[in-house]
Amino acid sequence: MGGGGFTMQERSPALDRLVLSLTGKPAPRICFLPTASGDEREQTTRFYERFGAWPCELSILSLFHLGRDRVDPVEHLLAQDAIYVGGGSMRNMLAVWREHGVDQAMRAAWEAGVLLAGLSAGAMCWFEGGVTMSGGAPESVAGLALLEGSLSVHLDGEPHRLPAYRAAVAAGYLPSGYAVDDCAALVFAGTRLTGCVASRLGARVLRVRAERPGEASVQKLPVRLLPGVQPSSPEPEESDGVSELRALRAGRHRWD
């Protein structure tokens, strides 16, 4: 996901519902990892709010508050049907994952058929690389490389990412990949892209490809609107001030 879902307080639950339905299980076990935000409480609460109403078995894996539950993070992840990774600082998330062996566990879970999902930092981490704002300015960062290529997120929400991403692909710092709007998502089966979906009309996915040295082409990919989303009534446009207030109230930090 380039953004959207419960952590960003998206009103449409379509993307979150898709995560559950893709498991193919009547009551899937789903675990949320808020590592990239430092295990922010707001995100945890919203996870229960959104998924609590659906038939599934919920859990949170908190790497900053592990002491409370005393679970083995690796075993716990391998026992899931779906793993949902939240947004925040991609650099911090991967560093903390490495220390806890969660990076290896993610690969093992993926190879065992566990569905991996996420938004923002939680989406870029599956690729070879992404664009992080963890240091303030946009810069390339390596991911877990389960999927080939690279990803850039919040295409519409944070417009300064695309030029940085395009430049990184053109210069060869990042391999060719995708730039994704908030509320749009890529769906992969194994390492193959099976389609692009969206929970909002007009949400885009761009294919960004390295061409001749120093150049990157941008091509719009077809996006399918998810069931239950009204094509005629997109979410009303918000002024910057309203968005900022909402982000502030939500404790949301949109830089990854």
Binding site: A36, S37, G38, D39, E40, L63, F64, H65, L66, G67, R70, V71, D72, P73, G88, S89, R91, N92, L94, A95, V96, W97, R98, E99, H100, M133, S134, G135, G136, G251, H253, W255
Partner: protein, 265 residues
């Protein structure tokens, strides 16, 4: 940052010898929890110091270059939480190197719980899954450390067993007690409460490990009729306490105050 007891906080500020010390809080081990940052600013108001904090999860909001900021401090205060997550995040931002540089330059480093364990070569932390386990710290202090010692079940025995199994000798620190190092040597143990404990654990030469209780100086006024716990604990342990030597590097001492206080996220 104990509730209603500022003795250790006051002591940290007084050790700088500066009228209005610059003190920077690193809440990394808690995932930069908001409530913890608020608690820091309440404990260290601008009336008595120049407080700041560095959030590594929200780099865009805070200070510019963390290294430059840390080097400009009189005190760096590290909060509690997960030691493993703390070390991983610091490495990703080069904070480990910056802190070493700051320490060598004479900045006072202190912290509670994970914020204590991190300075040592090894720590035994019960924070994570299963049994308490041995974790490698930054190694500024060549000893090992355990906190909430004897306050939480399993910590004491795990620490003693780890030292017996070859972990460097070190210090088990109870809640409200704090180790004060000058350079890499223990200068004294202070406390914010009467009866706080600190223990030195070293190999006994027979494949096991032995504990020696350390004298603790209570920082507050002794209550009437109650003896000073430091004198009560006796002089049998003077050997350890007596090793305190002020280490001068570049003309400045390099103290580290390490708190075993109950500071948890």
């Amino acid at each position: 940052m104990e509730w209603g007891n500022s003795l250790l906080d006051d002591h940290v500020l007084s050790l700088t010898g500066v009228q209005r010390p610059r003190i920077c809080f690193l809440p990394t081990a808690s995932g930069d929890a908001d409530h913890y940052v608020v608690r820091f600013y309440r404990a260290f108001p601008a009336s008595r110091c120049e407080p700041s904090h560095i959030s590594l999860f929200r780099r865009e909001t805070g200070v510019g270059d963390p290294r430059v900021h840390l080097l400009g401090q009189d005190v760096v205060y590290v909060g509690g939480g997960s030691l493993v997550s703390l070390l991983g995040t610091w490495q990703a931002h080069g904070i480990d190197l910056a802190l070493h540089e700051a320490w060598r330059a004479g900045v006072l480093l202190c912290g509670g719980s994970a914020g204590s364990l991190c300075w040592f070569s090894h720590a035994v932390s019960a924070f994570h899954e299963g049994e308490p386990r041995r974790i490698q710290g930054l190694g500024f202090l060549p000893w090992s450390n355990a906190v909430h010692y004897a306050d939480e079940p399993g910590r004491r025995s795990a620490f003693i067993n780890a030292v017996a199994a070859g972990m460097p000798s070190g210090y088990g620190v109870g809640d409200a007690a704090a180790l004060h190092f000058v350079g890499t040597d223990l200068a004294e143990v202070v406390s914010s409460k009467c009866g706080a404990h600190a223990t030195y654990v070293c190999p006994d030469g027979n494949g096991g490990a032995t504990e020696r209780e350390l004298p603790v100086r209570f920082l507050g006024e002794p209550a009437m009729g109650v003896g000073d716990p430091a004198t009560e604990l006796g002089e049998a342990v003077a050997e350890v306490a007596g090793r305190s030597v002020a280490t001068e590097v570049g003309g400045r001492s390099e103290p580290a105050l390490v708190e075993g206080g109950a500071i948890a996220a």
